[in-house]
């Protein structure tokens, strides 16, 4: 990786990675994999999404992130469909993950277990 040698290069790099990571309209799935998430089985869910989306021919980026703090509802998964607000699903097991793919990702239809954003951010 080339070094970043000035704040100007940093903002150029920021622009590039923003474009690369978030520029395209793409389905993005974030599995929250901090200690709480992993302890509740987030790894299985992460692998489930990777394998199943490929099997079902759905192009999506499956990302692992830290926990959002919803320990009472782990594992949690955030699904961001193009042009839609991100939706967080809680208590995701394989059955619910399957439902998320079939109902929400394929048809945009909400399912049970949604944790709406209950905070504001900077």
């Amino acid at each position: 990786m080339p070094k970043i040698n000035s704040p100007a290069e940093l903002s150029k790099h920021k622009k590039e990675v923003r474009e690369r990571l978030y520029g395209q309209k793409k389905i993005r799935i974030r599995v929250h994999m901090g200690t709480s998430g992993l302890a509740s089985g987030a790894k299985t869910i992460y692998e489930f999404f990777r394998e199943e989306l490929e099997k079902r021919n759905i192009e999506a980026a499956v990302i692992h992130a830290g926990d959002m703090g919803y320990s009472f509802a782990e594992p949690t998964v955030e699904v961001c469909l193009p042009d839609r607000e991100a939706v967080v699903f809680g208590n995701v097991d394989k059955i619910r993950a399957d439902e998320i793919i079939e109902k929400y990702i394929k048809n945009g239809e909400l399912t049970d277990g949604i944790l709406p954003a209950n905070y504001r951010s900077i």
């Binding site: 990786m1 070094k3 970043i4 040698n5 000035s6 704040p7 290069e9 940093l10 903002s11 790099h13 920021k14 990675v17 923003r18 690369r20 990571l21 978030y22 974030r30 929250h32 901090g34 200690t35 709480s36 992993l38 990302i63 692992h64 992130a65 830290g66 926990d67 959002m68 703090g69 919803y70 320990s71 009472f72 509802a73 949690t76 955030e78 607000e85 809680g90 048809n107 945009g108 239809e109 909400l110 399912t111 049970d112 949604i114 944790l115 709406p116 954003a117 209950n118 905070y119 504001r120 951010s121 900077i122």
Partner: protein
Amino acid sequence: MTKERIQIMVCGGTGCTGDQGDALLDNLKLELEANALENDVTVVKTGCMGLCSMGPNIKIMPGNIIYTGVKPDDVRDIVSEHIMKGRKVERLLFTDPGSEKMLSTEKELSPFRKQLRVVLRNCGIIDPENIDDAIAHDAYEALGVALTKMKPLDVIKTVKDSGLRGRGGGGFPTGTKWEIAFNNKSDEKYVVCNADEGDPGAFMDRSILEGDPHAVLEAMAICGYAIEADKGLIYIRAEYPLAVARLNTALRQAREYGLLGRNILGSNFSFDIEIKYGAGAFVCGEETALIHSMEGDRGEPTVKPPFPAVSGFRNQPTIVNNVETLACISPIILKGAEWFSSIGTEKSKGTKVFALAGKINNVGLIEVPMGTTLREVITEIGGGIRNGKKFKAAQTGGPSGGCLTEKHLDTPIDFDNLIAAGSMMGSGGLIVMDEDDCMVSVAKFFLEFTVEESCGKCSPCRIGNKRMHELLEHITKGKGVPADLDRLRNMCHVIKDTSLCGLGQSSPNPVLSTLENFRDEYEAHVTAKKCPAGKCRDLMEYFIIEANCVGCTACARVCPVGAISGERKEAHVINQEICIKCGACMEKCKFDAIIIQ
């Protein structure tokens, strides 16, 4: 994907479902069916939307329109107007009390939410193992600003003006600490990140390190620039393997980009960070003990002054800052001191992350502006007490803190108010207790922790706490006498006044505060020999209610000590002298004939 279908989200948070239960949800489904719309509109119940004070709330998509204060009878209008005709039901929109404007969308209502994420801004959002994702979310931008546009003293002034106080428990002004280290000239200075999180029930620091490690690395570099240090150390316990792994990845990536190392971002400033592992001793969260542990000595505290900012690691000026404190730094540099100091109360600025644990519905991490009340935290954000039980107390500050009771529910939470209430902010663990918790046992639990964690260097802490624990043990076993309570109180004060470090000085707090707030419970233990919460096993008695007992003999057969006697088909009796209070009989009884008294 075809045209977006209409979907209704009904808030299922405790605040919204409250008395009405699921009536709103049921009515909505019925109303849709009555209009033959059930196949066109999806209705789902969701978690809390964070707008509890306006509830019950529903959100309709597309459009993200939020209706507030919706009663079960309002669904008719919603279906006939909004769903069928596409017109907003204005009377159900929220009116901003300030501007008197009607607010309807998610975005407009967001400022009314109780939670504000500053520290947790990127947690769960970015991939912590991909520095590019962090950079896309503003990481290292503040470092660039500091290095090129600010002098070290400007950075210190900004942090000072922001009013940021240490989040590890002490609440010492961070900017002042940095200033002291800056003024102590030396070729060798150190920035230490204190990631030795040890309070029972607290996991804020762990989540930050696991979710957004770059926030901490960047802040350490900024601090290094401000105090003219070129070396950073992260002291973390080996029990946090995931946080350690992610920190190591983050460090490697930051070095590859030249964001750590020599001549950062083309400037003259060089800074690198090393990880030091602790074995997980509670006392090592105390800064002098932490420094000794890093130097390879026993993790024992020494008397301050000299403060580490004057003479710390290897006797050089050292800044020890908590993870959460550091995570506040970048936003302060980017958005300014004024922005940060506009959040919070007069003397406590910014936000605080709390780890909610115990008998609360929504266990987890929350971040609220300083000055949010305990009631808002517990009933709104935390979703209330589990199983509809009654709130009894909340323990803040872990084993060094105290408990807050019902009368403190409306106190704005900040550093000073918590101290005035006999507790302390601590690192942010908040353990909620309900009516079934015995406060004497709670005090005993925390003291047990301190006894275990005492380093043994000074006798008040080593021997005093042990003695106090024995007294509490006595009381919970029913062997206490009324004079024990005054003895306890005396010991608390002696230990507080004579212990060497913060651990000892604060260790009697849980006892003192429960004695203060729940004296009647202590008295019940020592005079009537009863535990009002029914927790202390030795003070309980199992009884068989004659009227309910059918004489099935199941209890007598399961009793391991043969304390239950009685003829078949006749009421049985428990011999209290023999009973060991194991509860096996109660579990076995199918007729609810056995009770605890």
